[in-house]
Symmetry: C2
Subunit: 271 residues, 2 copies
């Protein structure tokens, strides 16, 4: 454990032997009726990151949210599926009372010097000093674990739907609160730290939840270390809301315009 | 089986009881040294689609390519992890000689009338009659299973690297060859039918392969049926090539500008 940071406490796992680890949910990252999805993603990734068999660093993470996670104890079951010289595949499950509540796959990869190319231009936003922090006081606990400075597409959190739909795009400065040096575990959590585009577009609360979340880690360990606890530039958008499901796309950029992570998720919604 | 179409033959599975199914690779979708990744995705999805326990239709698919798949027999192992009123989570594995060569997660969802919104503009490209078909004769077998009409970013397939890097973006008309009415299984295959952006950008062959592939099915069954065998508009791009891995993003649009599927993949490359 790096410190008493809420993220480290929330993702702490105790090895119980035979690929099983035990943990507990924490109030610090509570969402409406269960843990914030990003913290579940971080827990499942941390099981791999802390495993002595790990090859290189995380490259890809997919988390499937199968059922509600209750407050209290959980078990993580970790299986190394295959490894080659350059890649390693893991399957991870989160279980409560013997039932699977989340499944994940993690790909780790050995990074090395190769051809490098970044054809996409980083988004531009004003310096963080010129962008007001969002006031999330009194809202869900997990929102208190991040500092959000929205340059575009700030959430409305209204009590009635917007008369005209809001933009699905948000552009913001994002960092852990309290500050914490960036690593793969916190990056996995942050990749879900965008308000559901459903709420963003409609401006009010609508029952919905993420069913599947995929994050790619473009960053090397050195790049994360260089980033430290400086805020990331985040961008989120969506393409289609239809018949009870919508997609959500995100990017997290580091200082100097380095793409550190990108992600997609699919969200179920009720009406 | 719908017909003698190569896709239906390649994805044919025989239930062996207890969530196990047997199948065989086919030459029709062969890539350089193993089956085309899209056909493996289609096989793993078809195991779910054909299962009588299926709830609604596919919403999300993630396939992890763990190891080389050899020509010949394989086994598919299917586990229904959880189901709720609206969603159902499956884990699927492809095994050869007792070893896991690919893993997948599939989310199915019950579609119903809800709020609908499509904030993204479809890409524009000339009518298919005005875009020349790509000549893939003599190349890998799986390329013969599609008709590609590139409006932008046609593959170079050169013998030496491009002096100036090519664009990572391609825009094309894409359809099965021979023609086949679109369904979730063929859409899953097509989501991988974009030449690796690595080869596109560099203009020549470089050893590399997909390690993880995620596809979201935005389309309802009715929309797929309406599409029939008409060509789809496909767009592919990439954001970052670095230290042995790059991402790839795709969208598949139907007639009338309906987003039918979107996807991401992460590709390992050697140098």
């Amino acid at each position: 454990m790096q410190s008493g940071h809420p993220l480290d406490i929330a993702t702490q796992l105790t090895p119980e032997g035979d690929g099983r680890l035990s943990g507990r949910t924490t109030a610090d990252y509570w969402n409406m009726t269960g843990p914030y999805g990003g913290i579940t993603a971080a827990i499942l990734l941390r099981a791999v990151v802390d495993d002595p068999r790990r090859l290189g660093n995380p490259v890809a993470l997919t988390v499937n949210f199968c059922a509600a996670i209750a407050a209290g104890a959980f078990e993580v079951v970790l299986v190394e599926q295959r490894r080659s010289r350059s890649t390693q595949h893991w399957s991870v499950e989160l279980r409560q009372a013997g039932a699977t509540t989340a499944t994940a796959s993690v790909v780790c990869g050995l990074r090395r010097e190769t051809f490098a190319h970044a054809p996409v231009t980083p988004p531009r936003l004003p310096p963080i000093e010129e962008v007001a922090p969002a006031d999330t006081s009194g809202r869900m606990n997990w929102l208190q674990r991040y500092r959000f400075h929205f340059a575009e597409g700030a959430p409305v959190f209204g009590t009635v739907p917007l008369a005209q739909l809001g933009s699905a795009r948000s552009l913001l400065w994002l960092s852990d609160a309290p500050a914490r040096p960036l690593d793969f575990v916190s990056l996995a959590a942050m990749a879900d730290a965008f308000i559901l585009r459903l709420l963003q577009v409609r401006g009010t609360f609508v029952p919905g939840s993420t069913v599947s979340l995929t994050t790619y880690f473009h960053a090397t360990a050195e790049e994360l270390q260089a980033q430290g606890s400086a805020p990331l530039c985040g961008v989120a958008d969506a393409r289609r809301f239809n018949a009870g499901f919508h997609d959500q796309t995100i990017e997290l950029w580091g200082t100097g315009g380095t793409l550190l992570a990108s992600g997609v998720q699919v969200v179920w919604y009720k009406e």
